[in-house]
């Protein structure tokens, strides 16, 4: 086993061990803090291992170490193991680093929880890191599917972390069934792939129609996991989970898993041109639609949630344009600045005890560190050069130049403007202006929360430097040029930000109010799925329950009842008297004798 493989296994085993120990030994979990320490130790080990892996030069190389899984007749149904290359290693680093930052942050953020909840929270986190790394390191689609479902499970558990709150429980169920609905696509894609090739590798040449079907089915799952229109409705509701969870799962890593999977399975998607065309439009539509909805949210976390949707749309559009590098680069930078924004929002929420923007305001003086780091994240998201978000968004827009008659390019440029506008709004309403009653007594968060903010601020500022390195690994290259796109993108970012500062700092949002109220009614998608759930899925479930209870169970119970009754009916035959048995033996012998004589 090569040292690289050992390191990769550490990133899997360390969090898994932390999760198992926390789960199996109740005192560790019930006391809370030991589970937190264990989880953070596991993440620290995983982060260290992934950092060592990042230092290796893997451009153009792939290390595979697998064992056959589910061996039947000497042949494994699939493989489990690790695949280390220029795609998996950067993602591994991002996941481990953000997870570590979020876990350290959570130590302070979650201190108000009871010890039992505290321990449970960190056990979930350890399980999440293991699951996510399983997905990231997957050597084929089968293991990717296992990791994919595991992160979905942890997402459900963490959204419903406060399961005693009905809204949280409902949001967890909603997230679960929306993503499971989409995951059906993944499952069918696996079956199709196995039927055609006898394996689960994405690295095969398929007949065009099979490639289109497989890629399309996988993309359905990607739409669910990465919250693409019209399957995005679960993500804003997922904000019911604790804020660090939103930062890690529902902004930085898990929702980006869909984008990662497309990059990972690039050989498959590159064969499916129709699907790529669909991705281009789905991504563009999601980016624009979610950005519009982001303009009208009054809850700081919901603004960020719609922003996540929108940015995932950018990534998917880039993948649809065939530029795996641009999508992947934006995934990486977005992971850092969006985790930073969520953790900053958590720091604010922690201080004012409210998610509503109207309860904030003027916090820049009271929480300088949070304000500065949050502003950096916001500027990066808004695409202000030379921050990381600008570089990756520029890469996407450059990749889209000339595609489909420049329409997606134009829409995404306008979306970049909207992005800057709504982030400017959040900045003003949170940190500038007049403090609300709750905000007047706010104070800076403890170091355990601010240190992760600063740590995530570094890649948020300097992430652009990673672009060329990432591009080389993926076999592409990054153009830094002074053309039409970067200039327009910068102008869109600055313009949007400036306009929103003017609008909200001076309190001039009145002319916009009518438009914004109209946008608020755009929750029609939500109602469509709610209708599907209440009017179709629940009655179907009811019908299936009836069939199960009265037909399937009825059959089983009937067989049991019949057996009992038949036993009762023949009971009297057994008299218990020896003579009767002897008589039966004699009669039997005589009958046999007659039979023998007769034959």
């Amino acid at each position: 086993m090569s040292p690289s493989v050992t390191l990769a296994l550490v990133t899997l085993v360390a969090p898994l061990a932390a999760a198992l120990v926390s789960v199996v030994i109740p005192p560790i979990r019930h006391r809370g803090m030991p589970a937190a320490i264990l989880t953070i130790l596991g993440s620290l080990l995983a982060t260290g291992a992934s950092a060592l892996l990042l230092m290796e030069d893997v451009a153009g190389r792939a290390i595979r170490a697998t064992v056959p899984w589910l061996v039947v007749q000497g042949r494994g149904l699939g493989e489990v193991g690790v695949r280390l290359d220029a795609v998996s290693i950067p993602m591994l680093g991002v996941v481990c680093l953000v997870a570590l930052a979020v876990q350290v942050y959570s130590v302070a953020y979650m201190h108000g929880e009871s010890p039992r909840s505290y321990g449970r929270y960190f056990a979930y986190h350890a399980l999440f890191l293991f699951s996510m790394n399983t997905l990231v390191l997957a050597p084929d689609l089968l293991q990717a599917f296992a990791g994919w479902e595991l992160v979905g499970l942890v997402s459900y558990l963490l959204i419903g972390f406060h399961f005693d709150r009905p809204t949280a429980a409902r949001a967890a169920v909603k997230a679960f069934w929306m993503t499971k609905l989409a995951d059906m696509g993944f499952l069918f894609a696996l079956l199709l792939l196995y039927a055609r090739t006898g394996a689960f590798s994405w690295d095969v040449a398929l007949r065009p129609e099979v490639a289109e079907a497989t890629a399309g089915l996988v993309f359905l799952a990607v739409m669910g996991k990465s919250a693409q229109f019209p399957l995005h409705v679960w993500l804003p509701d997922a904000m019911e989970g604790p804020t660090p969870v939103s930062a890690l799962l529902h902004a930085a890593t898990m929702v980006a898993a869909g984008v990662y999977l497309v990059v990972r399975a690039d050989p498959l998607f590159a064969q499916a041109h129709w699907v790529q065309g669909g991705m281009l439009w789905v991504g563009t539509a999601t980016a624009a639609f979610a950005a519009l909805l982001g303009l009208v949210q009054t809850d700081i976390k919901r603004v960020l949630a719609y922003s996540t949707c929108s940015q995932l749309g950018f990534m998917v559009a880039a993948l649809g344009a065939g530029s795996a590098f641009a999508g992947y680069f934006h995934l990486g930078t977005h992971a850092f600045f969006k985790a930073l924004l969520f953790l900053g929002a958590g720091s604010v929420i922690h201080a004012v005890h409210s998610n509503e923007l109207k309860d904030m305001g003027g916090l820049a003086r009271r929480m300088p560190l949070t304000a500065v780091t949050f502003a950096l994240g916001a500027l990066s998201l808004a695409g202000i050069p030379p921050l990381a978000g600008f570089a990756s968004k520029d890469a996407i827009l450059t990749a889209l130049e000339g595609r489909a008659g420049w329409i997606p390019w134009a829409i995404l440029l306008a979306t970049a403007f909207l992005t800057a506008f709504y982030m400017g709004r959040v900045l003003v309403l949170t940190f500038l202006g007049k403090p609300s009653a709750a905000a007047a007594h706010a104070h800076e968060s403890p170091p355990a929360m601010t240190i992760p903010l600063v740590a995530l601020g570094i890649p948020t500022v300097a992430g652009a430097l990673l672009g060329p390195w990432l591009a080389r690994g993926l076999g592409g290259e990054m153009h830094l040029h002074l053309g039409l796109t970067p200039v327009l993108a910068s102008l869109a970012g600055l313009g949007g930000l400036g306009l929103s500062l003017v609008t909200y700092l001076r309190g001039r949002e009145a002319p916009l109010a009518g438009t914004l109220a109209a946008l608020d009614r755009a929750s029609v998608v939500d109602r469509f799925w709610a209708f599907g759930y209440r009017s179709l899925l629940l009655p179907l479930g009811g019908a299936l329950r009836w069939v199960d209870r009265y037909l399937v169970d009825g059959l089983m119970n009937g067989v049991g009842w019949g057996t009992l009754e038949a036993g009762q009916a023949v009971r009297p035959v057994q008299t218990g008297r020896t003579r009767d048995y002897a008589l039966a033996v004699v009669v039997g012998a005589v009958l046999l004798l007659i039979l023998a004589a007769w034959r």
Binding site: R571, T575, G576, A582
Partner: protein, 98 residues
Amino acid sequence: MTLRALLLVATALFSIGIYGLLTRRQAVALLLSIEVMANAANLVFVAFARYGGAPGHPLVLFALAITVAEVAVGLALVMLLYRRHGDTLLDLASEAKG
């Protein structure tokens, strides 16, 4: 004494044993009936060994040994029956009634 006569005797013995088995209620009597039946079978073996040329003698010796063991077990059961119910009427042991 011919083979036919011997077989008739054996059949008579066997029938007497069955009659006893079906009509007697005392456990010891039942054991005796079974012994009579067993000896009817032994008689057939010996008769064929003598007149039919079949090598039946060793089988009879085996059968005797097995019958002795069977009687030992049977008598032990009778003892238990007596201890439990104070009598040796086999109908008392009707725990297997359905």
